[in-house]
């Protein structure tokens, strides 16, 4: 039996998405900037995609920008606004649990003379609103907070954060990394007070290499890529039409089944959490109820090295992550797990299990059963 429980790392591209993309690659393959009919047809596809996302997010079509993925969306949002607004102020705010595609651009800006405040989180990974209130100042030009944390599934109080920002600062933009949240939650940037929103395709059963950034029309931003002036000169480069078709098709499916899939995921998650709680010396990190993301569970297994458990599960066809997959080929201590104050000895004993709408109860039960078998054996053989 196989169980792919690493859907927060990436997801399988659905056949429907793949088929739509093949059509866009092999038949309607024109360059949307071409003046002839082939170009016009491709441009129509691009427009349809923008129309869909504009409706889906309740924003304007001209506020949708397609990128190469989550990392580019986050980089464009942060570096682009910082560069365009540095005369208004050089202070940025983010949290200690952000994905590297947010925290690293922040660090890069620090080297260029910007000041960055990293907000702490509580034991459940929820950002401190008091700390935010204190940090916000005249100089603040951007606040960047992720919607759902990729390692423990903590859901941030986005609307409250937005409200606080608007109260205390007129000019600070609010960027939300919604890469783990989009497709699980219905997000309306206008209603929630979000100025920039990052989305990635391959977390939604679309392929790698395509993402999206919503940029409110009032946001002043500089491009990272200079070239042919596509997408209003904010993101030059021939539009990745097959990818855009893919992410749109995938987002359509998410929209259609949003509630149904979320309920299903919560059910799966609850089943898994219940099972984990029966295992010896295993604890779930963060919240587990409906106030947490429906598809991510972080578990610490005392006395077991996560890397070893991961490979032991792999031998049984079960695929999970230690920390976040993007960073896990270089073993390092996760800032998120440190941020929630996880005991030192558990930092390298923590695995992430993440589900998708196609995860079955059988897969969950199989994983729990194998965990129950493996843990005592692995705990016996440790470094002494």
């Amino acid at each position: 039996m196989q169980a792919y429980l690493d859907n927060a790392a990436t997801t399988r591209c659905t056949t429907r998405v793949a088929e739509a993309m093949v059509q866009a690659m092999c038949e309607n393959f024109g360059n949307p900037s071409s003046m002839h009919l082939m170009g016009v047809k491709a441009e129509q596809v691009l427009r349809d995609a923008k129309t869909f996302f504009a409706k889906n997010l309740k924003v304007k079509e001209k506020e949708i920008y397609f990128t190469s993925g989550g990392t580019e969306s986050n980089n464009l949002a942060i570096l682009g606004t910082a560069m365009a607004n540095q005369r208004a102020g050089k202070h940025l705010i983010t949290t200690v649990i952000e994905h590297p595609s947010v925290s690293h651009p922040m660090k890069a800006l620090e080297k260029q003379g910007f000041r960055v405040t990293y907000l702490p989180v509580d034991k459940d990974g929820i950002v401190s609103l008091e700390a935010l209130q204190e940090a916000l100042c005249e100089e603040t030009i951007l606040v960047s907070v992720m919607y759902v944390n990729n390692e423990i599934g903590a859901v941030q109080p986005i609307e409250q954060i937005a409200k606080l920002i608007k109260e205390k600062s007129k000019k600070a933009y609010f960027h939300v990394d919604a890469i783990q949240a989009y497709g699980k939650y219905q997000i309306y940037p206008g209603k929630e007070g979000i100025d920039l929103l990052s989305i990635s395709g391959h977390k939604l059963h679309a392929p790698k290499g395509v993402g999206l950034l919503y940029i409110n029309e009032k946001v002043k931003i500089h491009p990272l890529l200079h070239g042919g002036g596509q997408q209003k000169d904010i993101r030059s480069g021939t539009e990745n039409i097959p990818g855009i078709v893919g992410i749109t098709e995938a987002a359509r499916a998410c929209e259609q089944h949003l509630e149904e899939h979320r309920e299903q995921l919560y059910h799966i998650k609850q089943r898994f959490v219940d099972g984990v709680q029966k295992l010896e010396r295993a604890t779930v990190n963060g919240r587990t109820g409906k106030d947490s993301a429906p598809h991510i569970v972080s578990v610490s297994f005392e006395g077991v090295r996560s890397e070893v458990l991961l490979h032991a599960l792999e031998e049984r066809g079960i695929y999970v992550s230690a920390g976040s997959a993007c960073a896990s080929n270089k073993p390092s201590i996760s800032p998120t797990l440190q941020g929630i104050g996880l005991a030192k000895e558990l930092l390298s004993s923590t695995l992430r299990f993440s589900f998708s709408f196609d995860t079955t109860e059988e897969e969950i039960d199989y994983c729990l059963q194998e965990l129950a078998k493996l843990l005592p054996v692995l705990r016996r053989y440790v470094r002494r």
Binding site: E307, L310, H311, A312, E314, N329, R383, R384
Partner: protein, 392 residues
């Protein structure tokens, strides 16, 4: 401008009647490494010289780089080859060569002529003088020094004429395949690939064995070893890599023996298994990357305790090297970057906080007795499940 190379070989030259064996092995290796290089090449042996000649278009840099990986090659001289002609014609050719190579140079030089074609009108001294004179007239920056010249211009008079002045260094050593085959114990570290390279440099073909211990070592750790073997194979030719699952044996030792002796006992079993595969596959020796005192299992006592189980000779080419020197070679052969990737190998997984550093062979043998009865079967199983990967 160059379409041919003169390949200089060192030690082979002093061999006796079997010299042709070494030369033929060298030529075979040269042909082998040039196979993937862009271009068509003729490799010939001519009166104690090996020539590589490109027919038509070829990639100069790639060709030199390939030749520089052939053991037995001491130097590679890019050669300008021209048809046989009289001294006036030759002088013109030499001047054009000098203009391309040494325009505006200030150097001392001499001309060295080899006259294999005994029907050439002038003798070698006369040719050298005639050419030297022309060069002096044309290049004000050059002056003659026949004792310690900075530049030697070689002229070889054969059925054709060769002009060369540059010698690019080769790796030295002996051609592969002239010295049997040995089994390298390849971990994922810095040392073992270097050890394999060094022994192969003496003409020894290499096979390798890698011990993995899933789930304690990952698929990526294994991939890393495959990648390392590929890098080494650029020099040593095809490597047959044996991947042995060591987990069961490791666990059994862990359960049965004193923990501080775990590493030594593990290494004894690795040596036994490596030796068994070596004997079954026609390898005549083992190769390890051990260096005295580098870690607890490489003290003289530990090496003696490990060596105790072997009957084949064990080559340890790095035995007296400092780490820095090993790293220098690892960088030169381009294995370093791969070696330092941080994947756990099975030696470090369960290493004790304070392993024995001065094990006594008799004590270790006694500890090992506790394993007898069951471990033989595990070794058999590990050998039976040997996964062989052909690296080329």
């Amino acid at each position: 401008m160059f379409h041919a190379f003169l390949v200089k070989y060192g030690e082979i030259g002093v061999k006796g009647k079997n010299r042709y064996v070494f030369e033929d092995a060298l030529i075979a290796r040269i042909k082998h490494v040039l196979y993937p290089v862009e271009g068509t090449f003729q490799v010939t042996k001519d009166q104690g010289r090996v020539y590589v000649e490109a027919v038509g278009v070829f990639d100069y840099e790639e060709t030199v780089a390939a030749l520089q990986r052939v053991f037995g090659v001491v130097g590679i001289c890019p050669v300008v080859k021209i048809p046989n002609q009289d001294i006036e014609g030759l002088q013109k050719e030499v001047l054009s060569y000098m203009h391309q190579m040494y325009e505006n140079a200030t150097k001392s030089f001499k001309v060295h002529t080899r006259r294999v074609n005994k029907r050439y009108a002038l003798n070698s001294m006369e040719v050298s003088a005639a050419i030297g004179e022309k060069i002096l007239q044309e290049f004000p920056g050059l002056r003659v020094d026949v004792h310690e010249p900075e530049l030697i211009l070689h002229i070889e008079l054969r059925n054709y004429i060769c002009i060369y002045s540059e010698i690019l260094p080769g790796p030295g050593g002996m051609p592969l395949g002239t010295n049997g085959r040995s089994m390298l114990l390849l971990s994922g570290g810095i040392d073992s690939p270097v050890a394999g390279y060094m022994v192969a440099k003496r003409g020894v073909c290499i096979d390798a064995v890698y011990f993995h211990a899933p789930p304690y070592t990952s698929e990526r750790a294994k991939q890393k070893v495959v990648d390392l073997a590929k890098k080494v194979a650029r020099y040593t030719g095809a490597i047959r890599l044996h991947v042995i699952n060591f987990a069961e044996i490791q666990m059994y030792i862990y359960d049965t023996c004193p923990h501080d002796e775990l590493t030594i006992l593990m290494r004894r079993y690795m040596m036994r298994i490596a030796e068994k595969i070596a004997m079954d596959t026609g390898c005549l020796a083992l190769i390890t990357g051990e260096s005295i005192g580098q870690v607890a299992s490489q003290t003289v006592q530990s090496i003696a305790a490990t060596n105790d189980v072997c009957t084949l000779p064990v080559f340890r080419p790095l035995i007296a090297f400092d780490k820095e020197d090993i790293v220098t070679i690892a960088k030169k052969i381009d294995t370093y970057e791969t070696s330092i990737l941080p994947y756990e190998d099975c030696c470090t997984t369960f290493v004790a906080k304070h392993p024995v550093t001065k094990p006594r062979v008799d004590v270790i043998r006694r500890s090992e007795e506790a394993l007898m009865g069951q471990i033989e079967e595990m070794v058999e199983r590990a050998l039976a499940e040997d996964e062989v990967i052909e690296i080329r």
